[in-house]
Structures are given as structure tokens and as C-alpha cells.
């Protein structure tokens, strides 16, 4: 196991960590907008770090170039998708959750 592999594993583990954070945020945050924030931002970072780790693991080949292209694509497109979702919800009239509201997460757990 050389230094290149270690750096690659570090980046892949960082990506997995951010994906885990995004999943926990999706489950735990109270309303649509904050969930969009968690999944959109953190999944972009998680996927990009994982792909960067894979590109480093691969070395300087055509495949790592393709992975870099995919990274640029994810960087450009994933936030735009999140933006489109949130904008559509805002225009539909979905009300954001405020601090003095009853958190929907607790309501669900009490009902169950």
C-alpha cells in the first residue's frame, strides 16, 4: 500500500462521511427546504470527494480524466437541480418550518 492509495482511501472515506451526513440530514431535518439543503449540498461534496479519490487511485489515465469530467458535471448540475426543486416548492406555496412551529419529526414519532 503506497502513498497514492492512502490518499485515495482518505478522499473516498471523506466522501462516504459526507454522504452519511446527508442521509442523516434527510432523515432528521424537519421540513422540505432544510432536507433539500442537506441532500443537495452534502451529496455534491460526497460524490465529488469519492470521485476524486477514485481518480487518484486510478492514476493518470483516460479513466481518471473521465472521472474528472463527471466531477465537473456533478459540480455544475447538482446544485442547479436542488435549486430547481426548492424554487418549484416555493412557487407551489410550501411554507418553510420556523422555530416556534411544532417540529413535524416529533409529531410523527408521537403518532407512531
Amino acid at each position: 500500500m503506497n502513498v497514492q492509495d492512502l490518499i485515495a482511501f482518505f478522499f473516498i472515506l471523506c466522501g462516504a462521511f459526507f454522504m452519511l451526513m446527508g442521509s442523516i440530514g434527510l432523515l432528521r431535518l424537519p421540513d422540505f427546504y432544510s432536507r433539500t439543503h442537506a441532500t443537495g449540498k452534502v451529496d455534491t461534496l460526497g460524490i465529488m470527494l469519492s470521485l476524486l479519490g477514485l481518480a487518484i487511485y486510478e492514476g493518470l489515465t483516460l479513466n481518471s480524466l473521465k472521472l474528472l469530467v463527471v466531477m465537473i458535471f456533478v459540480l455544475a448540475v447538482n446544485p442547479v437541480g436542488t435549486h430547481a426543486l426548492a424554487k418549484a416548492a416555493m412557487e407551489y406555496g410550501l411554507r418553510p418550518w420556523f422555530k416556534d412551529d411544532t417540529p413535524p419529526v416529533k409529531q410523527e414519532s408521537e403518532g407512531v
Partner: protein, 147 residues
């Protein structure tokens, strides 16, 4: 007819990304017999870029690149191209889809098979693109005030 997206960000990023998506889809189609990819995946990417242009830029501007009326005929043409390559091989003395019997001016049977597969991939890609775009256009048809 779908209205264009009222978000400037979505419009600009879609307009920037669609040509690159289509070029990469062509790469996937033509690289299918050397690596991952092929006609099905490349055709799906072309169809996805066309559907993205319909959703983000609106039906009126998307029709410039790909008319709704072309969907079903292209699906049929792609399937016909697939079947025709197979039947040409039968006509020149081989089995159905045996690319080694295709009447191409190439001596190497390996090259013949390679280019024969390329024709099949192009047929699959054309059929898939036309069919997927036709399905999308049929689904949104009638939503005149679709936002």
C-alpha cells in the same frame, strides 16, 4: 407545449450543458464496443438531453433541435436499421446478424465484426432516442398551461 423554465439559473446551465451531454452521448455510442457504454446507454443520454431541453428551455425552442413529430418515425427507422443489418448478412450468405458476411470493403473479419456492431449500436441509439422523446411528448401533450 411546455413553457420555458422561469429560473434563469436552470435555463443558463441547461443551455450550457446540453451540447456537452450530446457530444458525450455520441462518444458513448461510438465507444460501446471498446468499453462501457453502447447504443442503449448513448441513446438514453441523447434522449435525456432532448427531454432536458424541452423541460428547461420550453417546447418552442426545443422543437428547433428535435421536432415532436420525429419521435415515432425515428424509433421505427432505428429498429429497421437493426433488422436490415441482420438481413443483409443473411442475403450475403451468413446467419442473421453474422457481421462477418457484411459487404463492406474490409479484409479483416475482426474489423468487419467491429463495424457491424457499430451499425447495430447506431440503430439501437436512434430507436431509443426517438422512442423516449416520443413517450415524453405524448405524456405532456394536452397540458397547455403546464408550468
Amino acid at each position: 407545449m411546455i413553457q420555458p423554465s422561469n429560473s434563469l439559473i436552470v435555463a443558463v446551465v441547461s443551455r450550457t450543458m446540453i451540447p456537452y451531454l450530446q457530444v458525450f452521448a455520441l462518444y458513448v455510442i461510438f465507444h460501446g464496443h471498446y468499453g462501457p457504454g453502447g447504443g442503449f446507454q448513448g441513446g438514453a443520454m441523447v434522449a435525456a438531453s432532448l427531454i432536458l431541453s424541452r423541460m428547461a428551455l420550453g417546447g418552442e425552442r426545443a422543437e428547433v433541435q428535435f421536432r415532436s413529430a420525429w419521435g415515432s418515425p425515428l424509433g421505427a427507422i432505428g429498429a429497421l436499421l437493426f433488422a436490415a443489418v441482420g438481413l443483409v448478412a443473411v442475403f450475403f450468405g451468413g446467419e442473421y446478424l453474422n457481421y462477418a458476411y457484411l459487404p463492406l470493403p474490409l479484409d479483416d473479419p475482426a474489423l468487419l465484426r467491429s463495424y457491424g456492431i457499430l451499425f447495430i449500436e447506431i440503430g439501437v441509439a436512434i430507436a431509443l432516442t426517438g422512442t423516449l422523446v416520443a413517450i415524453f411528448d405524448d405524456l405532456v401533450e394536452g397540458h397547455e398551461d403546464y408550468d
